[in-house]
């Protein structure tokens, strides 16, 4: 079932290597296959000119003789030269293959474009007819027509061509649909471009490559179908040889002269394989992310620290993460999703990890759990639980730790549960696997767990499927699953983000109550600072895969040092804001983790950045509160800072920022603009905000 290839990117996107390296991207297999096809075409075209015996000359050599210098493919039962017969057979196969593809294309492409572009009634009619065509027994149809109307080249070609039309319609319609929805097409239509010019200028070039790819695949299909007809004696009649016919003729003498079957079979196989390969490689060109048979692989640029490094185990730490790194190889380069993160959590405490989307928070959790995605991802650093290093454990022992000592809850309860398994089965599974409970005991315990997380009618919910529950209920179920084997550390990755506001509070209360009852440690990932301020004992602020500030919640919120933390705090909407106050955002975008900026990774967006920030990466320095650390050369609220003149104040421009010029006292040029970093006004807001959040 060939899927219609979908294209994800506009072909004229500037960052796409368009023609550069086309040869290499197609791969050697493509060129080998194309070469074979060219050879077969050439031989078919010049079959009469080649110095070979005539294909119907009997006793050109001894009958049934194997390959020899005189007859490279040997001879058949009547002593005819097989190479000559195969070469002439190629005329039929390729003629029908190419002809049927052209016929299918000529009839199917316009109908497909029409259905995909016009949609509505036109589409319904064309696709309805297509449905009927699918239910029609195609092979019987082909056999009947050829048998009744005569087995001639034209008839075979016409039948196979007509049979290929529905597939062409589906392919072209699918591709057209994708592009007819794209902005550049809707824009052209809205601007009043005539349909015909839109079709030719915008859609046709985009449909061309998938169509070219399918032309080769369709040719392969047709050659096989023609072979089948010929095998049944229903293609071009003797004396003209056909590949299917040759294989059929060779069958009776298979025992004594296997070459008579094997060599035509081999030629046919190679031709079909080549056509399929050429089609496949062309299709792979349309898909930037996944390139068919040979996915792009890259090694990480920087080798990760060698194991064997010893860390000081902090006193009383239940979980200690030391210098954790996760690097993911991608076609664009190595993404440093987690880059040297350290923190500790004690029993009965909550550690919050905050940062924008894409700062590496979720990847950090997965990395701590050892669930690094995909092949080729590299993890470095250490994770200690009760002083024992987990990174060196065998997969089996790590699974034991995961099952009995860690629990995890993810952001979206819609995707966190397996959609095709009942709640009861999913909930009982870890109990049976890790605690060795029997089926009955596991069910009973599962029901208790559901009750303990506040699920009403737990016995009934056990029999339900996830889609039958509300979002809040599902998140309770995932929490129950995370708690089922009595974990010591609960990892909650934005557990309330996808939930209603009213449900959020319930879920957070539930997590806190469980933490107190079970004396667990909780690692809470959140971008909601109000939640963090209320529930966390300690906060880790992440930016570009690194920790930029961390410390006790009160100290961090009240005596913020790192400008990024400050910007995060300023971005929280406040009740004291006037109505219709523009939402404060952090200017600029999070950096590309495959190509992070030099120096402090926040400097391109930082209004206080100076020359040193773009060159030297700041280490984590201690603030006056014990345990409060920050990574900044010019931290806030200390004498070290002298705001730079930001000039244009775009907030994203990294060149020339703060290199020279006098500085206004404590007043960055960007201040006061909504959507930018806070100025002095916002600093006073900040205190109020922190107070109100402290509740």
């Amino acid at each position: 079932m060939p899927r219609p290839p979908g294209r994800r990117d506009r072909p004229d996107r500037p960052d796409r290597p368009e023609h550069r390296g086309l040869l290499r991207r197609l791969g050697p297999a493509f060129w080998l296959a194309a070469g074979w096809l060219a050879l077969v075409v050439a031989v078919a075209a010049a079959a009469d000119l080649l110095p070979l015996p005539r294909y119907d000359e009997t006793l050109a050599g001894p009958p049934r003789s194997g390959p020899s210098a005189e007859h490279p493919f040997g001879t058949d039962a009547l002593g005819r030269d097989l190479l000559s017969r195969v070469a002439h057979g190629a005329r039929v196969s390729l003629g029908v293959g190419v002809g049927a593809v052209l016929l299918g294309l000529a009839a199917g492409a316009p109908l497909g474009v029409l259905a995909g572009y016009r949609r509505r009634r036109t589409d319904a009619v064309i696709m309805g007819a297509n449905d009927v065509a699918l239910a029609f027994p195609a092979m019987v149809f082909a056999l009947a027509v050829v048998a009744f109307a005569g087995a001639s080249l034209v008839n075979v070609l016409a039948v196979l061509g007509v049979l290929s039309v529905p597939a062409w319609i589906r392919l072209v319609r699918g591709t057209t649909l994708v592009f007819a929805e794209r902005e550049f097409v809707t824009a052209a239509r809205a601007l009043g471009a005539r349909d015909r010019s839109v079709l030719w200028r915008e859609i046709a070039p985009n449909v061309a490559l998938p169509a070219a790819s399918y032309a080769f695949v369709g040719m392969a299909v047709t050659i096989v179908a023609e072979g089948g007809l010929a095998f049944l004696g229903l293609s071009v009649q003797a004396p003209t040889p056909t590949w299917g016919g040759l294989i059929n003729e060779g069958r009776p003498v298979m025992e004594t002269a296997p070459h008579a079957v094997l060599l035509p079979s081999l030629v046919m196989f190679l031709t079909v394989l080549s056509a399929n390969l050429v089609g496949d490689r062309l299709r792979a060109l349309t898909d930037v992310r996944q390139s068919g048979l040979e996915p792009v692989r890259r090694r990480p640029a920087v080798p990760l620290p060698a194991p064997g490094q010893v860390h000081r185990i902090e006193e009383g730490a239940l979980l200690q993460v030391a210098g954790l790194r996760t690097h993911l190889p991608t076609p664009r380069g190595t993404v440093r999703a987690v880059d040297g993160v350290s923190f500790t959590v004690r029993r009965g405490r909550t550690l919050a990890i905050v940062g924008e989307s894409g700062s590496g928070k979720s990847m950090l959790i997965r990395s701590v759990l050892g669930l690094v995605p995909g092949p080729g991802a590299l993890r470095g650093g250490r994770v200690y639980l009760d002083g024992r290093d987990l990174t060196g454990l065998s997969p089996e022992r790590m699974r034991r730790v995961l099952g009995t000592r860690f629990g995890a809850v993810f952001q979206d309860p819609m995707t966190a549960l397996n959609p095709v398994r009942r709640i009861g089965v999913q909930l009982a599974e870890p109990l049976r696997v890790h605690l060795g409970l029997g089926a009955k005991a596991a069910r009973a315990r599962g029901t208790e767990l559901l009750a303990s997380v506040g699920v009403p009618e737990p016995a009934r919910v056990m029999r339900r499927y996830p889609h039958q529950l509300s979002g809040g209920m599902r998140q309770r179920v995932t929490i129950a699953m995370a708690l089922s084997c009595g974990p010591d550390v609960l990892f909650a990755d934005e557990p309330t983000t996808a939930l209603d506001v009213t449900v959020q509070d319930q879920v957070l209360r539930l997590i806190r109550r469980q933490r107190e009852e079970r004396r667990m440690a909780v690692v809470l990932v959140s971008h909601d600072l109000a939640v963090v301020a209320e529930w966390a004992d300690e906060v880790v602020v992440m930016y570009a895969g690194k920790v930029v500030e961390r410390g006790p919640t009160a100290a961090l919120f009240e005596r913020t040092r790192m400008p990024y933390t400050e910007a995060l705090l300023a971005a929280v909407p406040k009740l004291t804001d006037p109505a219709h106050h523009p939402l404060r955002l952090i200017a600029g975008r999070p950096p590309d983790l495959a190509d992070p900026p030099a120096g402090c990774s926040f400097h391109p967006r930082c209004p206080y950045a100076r020359e040193r920030c773009a060159v030297e990466e700041p280490p984590l320095l201690p603030a006056e509160t014990p345990g409060h650390l920050y990574a900044c050369w010019y931290p806030r609220d200390t004498g070290a800072r002298a705001p730079a003149d930001t000039g244009s104040g775009t907030g994203t421009d990294s060149d020339g920022r703060g290199l020279d010029g006098p500085c206004g006292p404590g007043r960055p040029a960007a201040a006061g603009r909504p959507g930018d970093l806070s100025g002095p006004n916002d600093l006073s807001d900040l205190d109020e905000g922190a107070d109100s959040r402290g509740r």
Binding site: V140, F148, M254, L293, V433
Partner: protein
């Protein structure tokens, strides 16, 4: 409501397909009278027989009366052999059904474990090898495959019979040996399709949150692949199995010919060669009804695979 709509739709498809094939067969040159009487008969004899058989009536009338007979279970009697078409089909159907069932069993039995193994390490050596093998299998015409299998297993190794059919009622063991080679011939290209589809869907499923969470619960890769990932990934596979079954009821022609099996496909081909219109028409009905039934079965299978579909 939707079930009724679907049923009506499939019925319409059935009517259109049978009518089109009826019309097509009538429009094509050649005519059964010539076949029955042979070359020597007089034009008057032709004329008389045409009238007797009702071939002079308009197309719609003939189709109508044929359809009417169909509804009462009368597929007509072959002009050529004098055997009721329904009886011939009933003789042939078990052979085709057994062949298809055996082929699907082999194909799924190989494809599912292969796909699971490949999806465990996408891009690994096993995955690459499987990709290459599948590509090769998909490029091998079924008659080439069949001839090769006969050459190796029947002629060189002499393990299995090259052709022929033993009904189950006669001898189970011989029946199985006679179905094995043709079933494998049909199954190998299907194995390639199935394992590619399932591998792709499995890899997509394995990216999902619930799988990461299952890993976070310390469950073994084997348990996750077989118990957590397989079922949610099986929808495309079910569709492909359905399409293949639907197509194969009439499409096993080549394999049945190659291995000398008295199945439906072979019957239809023989009838086409004999210009036995009613027999061909009966075969078309059987194939179309099979397609429609398989469609229904696939819908039921979706619901079994994914409980979210049961709501509708």
């Amino acid at each position: 409501m939707t079930a009724v709509f679907r049923a009506v739709r499939l019925l319409v498809v059935l009517l259109v397909v049978t009518f089109l094939s009826y019309a097509l067969l009538s429009l094509l040159p050649g005519d059964p009278v010539g076949q029955i009487l042979g070359g020597a008969a007089t034009p008057e004899a032709h004329e008389r027989l045409r009238r007797e058989l009702g071939l002079d009536d308009p197309l719609l009338v003939r189709y109508g009366s044929w359809l009417g007979g169909l509804l009462t279970g009368d597929f007509g009697t072959s002009y050529i052999t004098g055997v009721p078409v329904l009886e011939s089909l009933a003789d042939r159907l078990p052979v085709t059904l057994e062949l298809l069932a055996a082929a699907q069993l082999v194909a799924l039995g190989v494809a599912v474990p292969a796909a699971v193994a490949a999806a465990r390490r996408p891009g690994g050596p096993l995955d690459h090898a499987l990709t290459a093998i599948c590509f090769g299998l998909l490029s091998t015409p079924v008659f080439v495959l069949g001839v090769l299998l006969i050459l190796v297993f029947a002629i060189k190794l002499k393990l299995l019979p090259a052709t022929g059919w033993t009904p189950i009622s006669l001898d189970l063991g011989w029946n199985l040996t006679s179905v094995l080679l043709p079933a494998v011939t049909i199954a190998l290209p299907e194995t390639a399709v199935y394992s590619r589809l399932l591998r792709t869907d499995l890899i997509a499923t394995l990216q999902e949150d619930h799988i990461t969470l299952a890993r976070a619960r310390g469950l073994s890769p084997r348990r996750i692949l077989w118990r957590h990932a397989l079922r949610p990934s099986a929808v495309s596979l079910v569709t492909a199995v359905g399409l293949n079954l639907g197509a194969m009821i009439g499409g096993a022609v080549i394999v049945e010919t190659l291995f000398g099996l008295p199945g439906v496909g072979r019957f239809v081909v023989d009838s086409i060669f004999a210009r036995d219109y009613l027999a061909v028409q009966g075969g078309v009905v059987l194939i179309s009804v099979g397609y429609v039934l398989v469609n229904f079965a696939v819908d039921l299978a979706y619901a079994a695979v994914d409980p979210r579909i049961r709501r509708a």
